[in-house]
Subunit: 136 residues, 4 copies
């Protein structure tokens, strides 16, 4: 397993599985979001506080590769790194099945900052995020 | 089928089904909520407008009986009536499978009004809801 | 806090919250299900194994009282007891906010056994569940 | 609006919105899946029938761009085209807000065929999908 900025142990729930008996694709988007939010809190940054201050951070694009399936009540490790590409802060997120450390999902999640409905260059959140960037 | 104040045709989606191949129990709570909100809009009442005016309507209790299962991509009819019991406005909601009109779910959803964090006697919303009450 | 057969520490996720900023009602149904399934696994009983053996356990009725709201990324303790009422195995489930141990949700979830599409008297699962019954 | 193979009118539900008041990102993945499944049914192809015949079609990759937000109880039009790229059948899916036909989401969803746990060249489903391919 490569180096990550943050790792979170999670566990699937049966209701997240669909008729094929595996976690439905949309739920990985939920796992990825939960991981980013938990990471933010772990750094002392509050997504909701930004929201209250008028800074909306929005996901502008997700590229997600499904490599192996998770089943019900299965433990996994959700990992992330962060890099910047112009106005976009891009989370590189991987999900590993815990039992065999197999890579199940690999995603790049691009986020942008919006203030008063306009996309910014992202400098507002740089004081918070700068030290975590891989390419800082 | 008995008389209802409002009926909404809906259709299940495959992702709402779980490993047993039927719609997961929690999704019926979603269907019931969606039906109440659509009914509110159909009456000209906006749930979000109430929210903006400081009137929170909250569900205080749900009693739901699961009588038959819906499967993926199956059409159903979601019906509601409304009656009042003290401070509670109670939605009597039934869900019928469209193909054979079998009753799948029957629920009573109790809602209360909250202003500034305190439960009211419900009179704030009576001008809006009064004419729809079965026991008016 | 009263005595419980099983307690599970969980944490809400932001995506489970709705526009009112609190966990959407349907998600508590998910939490309750996840708790029952985790309890089953903790006892060595597998819900999926029963499914493979032709024993379907189905929720026939839920009565849920919403007493206080959970917000995003908030820890809670999900507790359950079990008693039998004729063919129904009834889970008494309570959810407490961890920070102040306030009771947020109290529910009774009735489950029945179905084999070949017919509701049984529940004796098939008694060897597994009998020792856990409050009124055994 | 460009030409599409299939268009489906849908409507958001309030419970799909999160604390920011807009539809949560994961729910668009649900909308896209529901659209593909409805399209399959409209063609006479059954996803579940394939499943019963041992042909699993799986999503291997999704690239989704979020361009504008949908709010609660908002109507939208979910459109798709299909092209093939080697073993992958790629759905080009766009979601437009109905009121102003603004493009809200644009996605490419790559699907592969799996039989007995092995990815195939996709020829099994070509008799069903071939006539719908843009680059046929």
């Amino acid at each position: 397993m490569k180096e990550y900025l943050y790792k979170l142990e999670m566990k699937t729930r049966d209701y997240e599985c669909d008729i094929q008996g595996v976690v439905n694709n949309a739920n990985y988007i939920h796992y990825l979001e939960a991981t980013r939010h938990e990471w933010l809190v772990s750094t002392g940054i509050s997504f909701r506080k930004w929201h209250e201050e008028g800074i909306e951070t929005m996901v502008s694009e997700i590229n997600i590769k499904y490599k192996a399936s998770l089943h019900g009540q299965e433990e996994f490790i959700s990992c992330l790194n962060l890099h910047r590409d112009g106005p976009r802060f891009i989370f590189d997120q991987d999900i590993y099945r815990k039992s065999d450390m197999r890579l199940c999902v690999s995603a790049q999640v691009s986020t942008i900052c919006v203030i008063d409905g306009r996309v910014t260059r992202g400098d507002e959140v740089l004081p918070y995020l700068g030290k975590f960037l891989e390419n800082a």
